[in-house]
Symmetry: C2
Subunit: 377 residues, 2 copies
């Protein structure tokens, strides 16, 4: 990193993601969006095509554009509607068209400014634009800061399921500006917290215990929040470095996601009823209850997981979803179309206890069905 860029990061926490010639840094701190121009310039871009959504544009686009322009960059922006429905091939076409109209070239940058929806959509657009343009991820939701902006998974949804169309495209830099979270709606913050808790549940029981003690400070902001974001990024970076393309234990990051995705599909991605992080919260609680039902994990651990998620205000049961969900067989059908299906077998992340998750590759559909029936009863 050039000296100027190094100086810029003095106050930010730096988490490296080690992926050979695709390595990059995650910076976590305050005021990072104001540095986006200098950062983009340090990456050698001449033009920057910002992709963002309407909510984030209203709250943060002006200072990003100012920073880019002040750095002498040719900046343009494509603004998409907020919400999961923007993760579509139709919207991808609009975004790519906007970036081409702005003549973003191979050495330039796409800057994804927003939550996971924008990150996934813009990252995918960067990956297919001229067969690959670099992407700077500037995540503005808690979920995006601790999860979706790191690791290079990008994509859009299909009517057959979530994230079924996409690419692996690592960002060249991640700028997680803690200030950006100040404008994030409380419900979205809470949803993102589910992914923070996930890292404890996967393999870090001490982190989960710390969250149980200090979650109020994480919600309130300040250093404990930044610490929790950085710890989450380190956990994600370590998994991604071990298994970039999810051939092995990267799948652990899907804890709560097989159930969660099925629930999201069932409500047709209607964010008024269920946002992604809430689906993950319910999914994680279910994964622990399912593990307990299979005799793998102690009942107490399942209860402890549910209790903490409920304490912070997250839903933990499919019955908590406003309007209710379909029957067990329909939910199972959603899971089968999920891409975590190989050769017809269901892959689940199960647990032997808090911080002891593992990948189970051949879970019996009958057992899943019986469990889903008990959950809905």
């Amino acid at each position: 990193m050039a000296d100027a860029a190094r100086a810029l990061s003095d106050e930010a926490e730096v988490v490296p993601v080690s992926l050979g010639d695709r390595s990059y840094e995650i910076l976590i701190g305050r005021g990072l969006l104001e540095q986006s121009g200098a950062r983009a310039k340090a990456l050698g871009a001449r033009k920057v095509g910002v992709v963002t959504d309407e909510n984030v544009a209203a709250a943060h686009l002006p200072r990003v554009m100012e920073s880019l322009t002040a750095a002498g960059l040719d900046a343009s922006a494509v603004v998409v509607p907020a919400g999961e429905s923007s993760k579509s091939l139709d919207r991808l076409a609009t975004v790519v068209d906007g970036l081409l109209a702005a003549r973003i070239e191979r050495k330039d940058l796409v800057l994804a400014l927003g939550g996971g929806v924008v990150g996934d959509l813009a990252g995918f657009a960067a990956s297919v634009l001229r067969r690959g343009v670099r992407c700077l991820q500037a995540p503005t939701s808690l979920l995006a800061q601790v999860d979706s902006s790191v690791g290079g998974k990008t994509g859009v949804n299909s009517r057959h399921g979530k994230n079924l169309i996409g690419a692996f495209h690592q960002p060249s830099l991640v700028l997680a500006d803690a200030d950006a979270l100040d404008t994030l709606p409380e419900r979205e913050f809470r949803a993102g917290y589910a992914e923070v808790a996930k890292y404890g549940l996967i393999d870090d029981p001490a982190f989960f215990a710390r969250l149980e003690r200090n979650w109020r400070q994480v919600f309130a902001g300040g250093p404990e929040r930044t610490n929790a974001i950085a710890a989450s990024c380190r956990a994600k970076a370590a998994v991604v470095a071990r298994d970039e393309h999810e051939h092995g234990d990267r799948a652990l990051l899907n804890l709560g996601h097989t159930f969660g995705h099925a629930l999201e599909a069932d409500v047709r991605y209607d964010g008024a009823r269920l946002v992604h992080g809430e689906g993950v919260a319910i999914g994680m609680a279910m994964a622990f209850r399912f593990s307990a039902a299979l005799g793998l994990a102690p009942e107490e651990d399942a209860a402890r997981v549910g209790a903490h998620l409920a304490t912070v205000g997250l839903p933990t049961s499919p019955k908590a979803i406003p309007g209710g969900v379909s029957d067990a067989a329909t939910l199972l059908g959603h899971m089968r179309q999920d891409k975590k299906v190989e050769g017809g077998k269901l892959t689940f992340i199960l647990a032997r206890g808090v911080g002891k998750s593992f990948v189970a590759r051949d879970v019996d559909a009958e057992k899943v069905l019986a469990f889903l029936e008990s959950e809905l009863a």
Copy 2:
């Protein structure tokens, strides 16, 4: 390769493409489509999603489906309209949707059966389907056998230009069945021949001289045709192995393409007026004349190139395009949007003579304009 698969290739010419863990083989020979089931099975697929166009489906789909089914594979097909207009994001959406409906999973295969349009579209679909499914390229046009099926460039067009949206996605196997060319319209064969000649013009003067002597046998079929295909594949494989992502001399393969793409864009990809290979033929003749005009190549070489292309019946001047083309400034505008533009400079493949092509990265737009004016006068 397993023994069974090795036995299958006894009669085929095998050209390896060396790309580390993305290495694969190109097989060139007769009757290879009848082996597609056994080949797909040897690659470990359970399901195969064939993508093809209406013309190729009529001529070749039944025997491919039979071969797949006979090998015990679950085979399905998505058929798109023939022609360049199928290289669109809209059509990509249809293809991906069809593959998802057929539940093609990560370990399965997409089989691209057709010319370059199908190869580019299906290859791109495979690359984004579940963030990457393997692709078997079964090229059925001469152009696809000697060029587009090899090297992993996939993609679709945008209203801003050709191939501006895509991915690098290497196939897992290329089956170039010489029999398939028997149903290819003469005009398309001739267009593909332009890309064969290109390999001679890039860096193999002996191959070009051989084509000048033996082109009639190449057109007639038989061993000289198979030889020319294999020689072309070897040339392409060597360039791709040196420079997979076109950071350096892979760009040589674009000889004739900067002018050619501008002409294709100008006729709005109307294949009735100009097909891709014809654009390349005109583009190569122009690249040599431009090189001569710049004092880089002998006039005789430019004349020799034009003469050979004309002898086989290919067009060599933009004025040969039915209906004519736009003025020089408009053509230059098309080139600027081409992705072979970096930092506003025009990149051209120029030549010091037959078999002596090189990448020129900062060609002066004024000189291009003057040359285009002379070509259209």
